[in-house]
Symmetry: C3
Subunit: 265 residues, 3 copies
């Protein structure tokens, strides 16, 4: 039988003991787990950034993978610890919107409020449910314990408002949704949305003070330092500078607008 896989995502950084504590607890419960970090460098308390990374990574993993995700500014407060069971995966973490984007692509079969303290650490801190609740639940889940054992089924889960691109005054208006390590600006405009709007007509794309025409097929098509638009590996419109840093070049931040305007042929 193959070993169960648990991924970990958090805003805990990698300089503290937080991530290691979670892993230790999981291995104490199930030493056969394969643990894989998604990232622990989500900006502190930034639920939307965590949601973005999770949404882009989770589906690369085998069916049955347990995704343990903890960006949890409300830890210890009224937000619920939950387990979401979809057709392909398990998601464990705080019910604060963190799973909003991943669930767009998954069919949710069960939502469980984690209340059965038999599967928690004996002593629950108020500041570190990653270690005290979520890690031990993920560990027990990886042993094959049924979702219903962890608490009662509930009807709904939290989502944040995800701004979709809109057509206004003949332009397609989107926003910069994520800025990656290379400074690439990833927008909320999907390939489908883009071509539904543009069809086969000519267009320009505006971000900050820069304008570009047309799309590249890949980074390599640009000249070094060229400002360009293309569809990135997650399927969204992306602004990039060949072997450069678009974020620094344009002085842009997350949430800033990007527009696609049709031009006369």
């Amino acid at each position: 039988m193959r070993n169960p896989i648990i991924t970990l995502l958090s805003d805990f950084g990698t300089m503290d003991y937080y991530v290691a504590s979670m892993k230790g607890i999981i291995l104490r419960i199930n030493p056969r787990c394969t643990l894989v970090d998604l990232t622990h460098q989500v900006k502190p308390h930034d639920i939307k950034e965590g949601a973005f990374i999770l949404a882009n990574a989770y589906s690369s993993f085998p069916k049955g993978t347990i995704h343990l995700s903890v960006v949890d500014p409300g830890v210890g407060g009224p937000r619920k610890p939950i387990l979401l069971v979809t057709q392909n995966y398990f998601f464990v973490g705080p019910d604060n919107g963190l799973f909003t984007l991943a669930l767009l692509g998954e069919k949710v079969k069960q939502v469980i409020a984690l209340t059965n303290s038999k599967f928690f650490l004996p002593r629950i801190s108020t500041t570190f449910h990653g270690r005290d609740i979520f890690a031990p639940v993920a560990g027990h889940l990886s042993l094959g314990i049924k979702p219903n054992a962890f608490g009662n089924e509930i009807d709904s889960w939290s989502e944040f408002f995800f701004q979709k691109p809109e057509v206004k005054g003949g332009r397609l208006e989107g926003e910069i949704f994520h800025i990656d390590t290379f400074g690439n600006l990833i927008t909320n405009i999907s390939e489908q949305t883009f071509f539904h709007f543009v069809k086969d007509r000519p267009f320009v794309i505006r971000a900050g003070k820069r304008v570009t025409q047309g799309l590249k097929k890949g980074y390599w098509e640009g000249r070094r330092g060229e400002f360009m638009a293309l569809f990135g590996s997650g399927g969204f419109l992306e602004i990039s500078v060949r072997e450069g840093n678009a974020q620094k070049t344009l002085g842009i931040k997350r949430g800033d607008p990007i527009t696609v305007t049709l031009t006369r042929a």
Copy 2:
């Protein structure tokens, strides 16, 4: 049989080949090991910070885990390479105080000076005992080789002076011992020490130029941006700013004082 677990802690960072080399050597000796990073981002040469992370993480792991810890400014010099065997764990690394805080919670059964070069790499550099001595010793230990095979038993090990909080002039005086990723200020005042001093009397807590009354149960009790005190996940008094960064807000550094003063009821 379950796979042996080896944790790794160092100040090597994650941009160089140092950590990977240690892992490669371990896997060459015992490919069945499960390797878990505690952190490699201890500030360069900062033995106390390494000791703090190790002390907070080690006990989350299963009995029998081998903790390989290398913050080693004196590498190649007179400090001894050692193996400490406690009731629950193995600790491998330089004898320079790095294990001071972890051992406060462990009963030491054996201290071995690592001298048997049969378990080292054939060629020992003077600058990288992590790869040449500590990793291969940890690897062999994970195969079940007995501690005595690695060298002679010795009587003592090094500790640094750990400043405990003191009561002076009616105040409890502690210090900031660690600053975490979120900017939370973690002090050397344990829950036990705190309540032994305060009992059920009213008090104020001072750090830098800020004063706060009372304790929160968790971060969520504060208003956004509120300065507050609470007991953190390691059991020590902690200063925090809700969804903010206490270190930046207060301009405080490690070693700075924190005081608890009783107030008239």
Copy 3:
């Protein structure tokens, strides 16, 4: 049978979903793999830095390890995806010079241009061959599929020009090839080259505005803050400041010269 080992090196950083996606894809193909990060913090697009890290880490791993390395500024363009088979290891990645330094120490047995799309993801993006081509090839390779199945054998691979130290005007002239986490300056002057030039004659070493005589055996021989030269764990001449940061002290950058000059006895 022991689990296959795949190492991963890239310039993807650890804050995005890129590395996790590659790991997920590998585990989907072969859940028995042991995955080890070399580093993902190669400076963006810096093939030489990636080559240096890989060259210093790869040989610590067991025979048969698959080294998956992706620093790929030309992704999607004309550079070939390749698999290199040496006597001891497999190397998978873009054919852009990334394997130049590792192959100095290995005997290459086979070079395969990766063209068999049966082993790729069904849909290949133009921007992320790490996930779409290299990770699935490494995963299938770890299942024991023969190198020839992945594409046609070719005769050559790309190398960058590696500046070797030279003797000019009676001096040995080298350069700073890598700066590590501690600020140590690692040069391109090997122990063999150094002693072939110096023999047992007295010498001075110059880097930036500083000069030092003689070599230390290890960091511990220096006084705190002392500027010194020694041979590092990779076998190359290294400039270091004891418990300090040579890079900051000297204001030096990669590619800057270092010279060894003989002095009269």
